[in-house]
């Protein structure tokens, strides 16, 4: 395991969520679940974050914001789509302004379903994301050594 997996800092962005998933994301950081046990911190700054948690589907207006945040994050990074809206558009999928799931705009690594996403499911999703983060961190390390 690389150090990347021991201190995953997250950034949370609400695309077009109904706020149900947002509340669950923050609940996962509260005393009941206490994600800080695994070194997870909610940074609120893309440049410091390793994991991008997106809730809600992407719409015409905020697709640029989602992309902007993703681009500002520093490698290695992973994206977790939280809730069914973020996975596929969910109940909003045929709204006039909705593009669909987050993967319409940026590459998504882990899809966590649920409406709203349960904190337990979210923790499982983040743990899976850590494996991917680990691989990317190792690949980056290898590239740096090769270069």
């Amino acid at each position: 395991m690389s150090f990347a997996t021991k201190s995953p800092w997250v950034i949370h962005y609400d695309a077009s969520s109904c706020n149900g998933c947002d509340i669950e994301v923050l609940a996962a950081l509260c005393p009941g679940f206490d994600l800080e046990r695994f070194g997870i911190v909610n940074t609120g700054n893309p440049k410091h974050a390793d994991i991008f948690l997106v809730t809600g589907s992407v719409n015409e207006r905020n697709q640029h914001v989602v992309k902007q945040i993703y681009d500002q994050m520093v490698e290695p990074k992973v994206v977790v789509a939280c809730g069914i809206c973020a996975c596929s558009g969910g109940i909003f999928h045929d709204c006039y302004n909705i593009l669909g799931g987050v993967d319409k705009v940026i590459p998504v690594d882990v899809y966590v379903p649920g409406c709203a996403v349960r904190p337990e499911a979210l923790i499982d999703g983040v743990v899976q994301a850590l494996d991917i983060l680990d691989q990317r961190a190792k690949a980056l390390e290898a590239k740096r050594k090769g270069a």
């Binding site: 150090f3 990347a4 201190s7 046990r37 609120g44 410091h48 520093v74």
Partner: protein, 289 residues
Amino acid sequence: MSLIQTLLGTVLFAVLAPVVGCLLAGADRIVSARMQGRVGPPLLQPYYDVRKLLGKEDVSVSGVDGLYMTCALVFTAFSGGFFFSGGNLLMSAFLITMAALFFIIAAYSSRSPFAEIGAGRESLQVMAYEPMVILMAVAFYLATGTFQVAGVFDLRHPIVCTTWLAFIGFLFILTIKLRKSPFDLSSSHHAHQELVKGVTTEMSGRTLAKVEVMHWCETVLFLGWTGMFFVWGGPATLIVGVVFALLAWFLEILIDNNFARVKWQAMLKSAWIVALVCGGVNIAVLMLL
């Protein structure tokens, strides 16, 4: 104080302070978590954070912020070296301010509006605590008759007996110096504040790792300053200093967890009033004695 001694102190500080500071930072996070009814991260979490940051891709907006942070680290090391080798207290205070200035310049160099607000607030913090730091050094001089920190070993009682008022003032600005709530204006450890990361907004990877290490060293140095008030007679009393420094550190965590961020006006006014009342009155009394 010989040059060799200072250099040796600097090297020792540069090696040991990050270790002690890292453990303190880890313990800080655990104690904070317990105060909030959580379990908290492992003790070595700050070390994992920094190791992770070192492995991140190198992106820098200005290209020079990493260099500025290196300068800040070097000045912090020299400041600690001067203090812990028993050297000049004023020199130590000025060198650590130089480190803070390099930190501010590093933030300004990115030209990002968020980083600039953070840097502006960091400058305000320097303005807020600096008068009290100088007054503390003057009070130290009046109590011991020298600016040399090693002078405390020649005393018959700890300087806090005559400078307790200045010590209270120093405790007040310690919160600003350690960037704890309610004075964490320039950058916060927690998201969901009005300005989240402030000064460090544009810093990432290695540069951010340097910021973390600098904070560890600063914590050790400032707790050293706190402990200095309680040391007298011989080196055996150092243990008393350490105990009181740890008590002050615990008090800071308690304050951090119980107060919301204040506006900069409140910080500047309260810090200057405290400096004037605590520092000023204490010095006036010491001069009359």
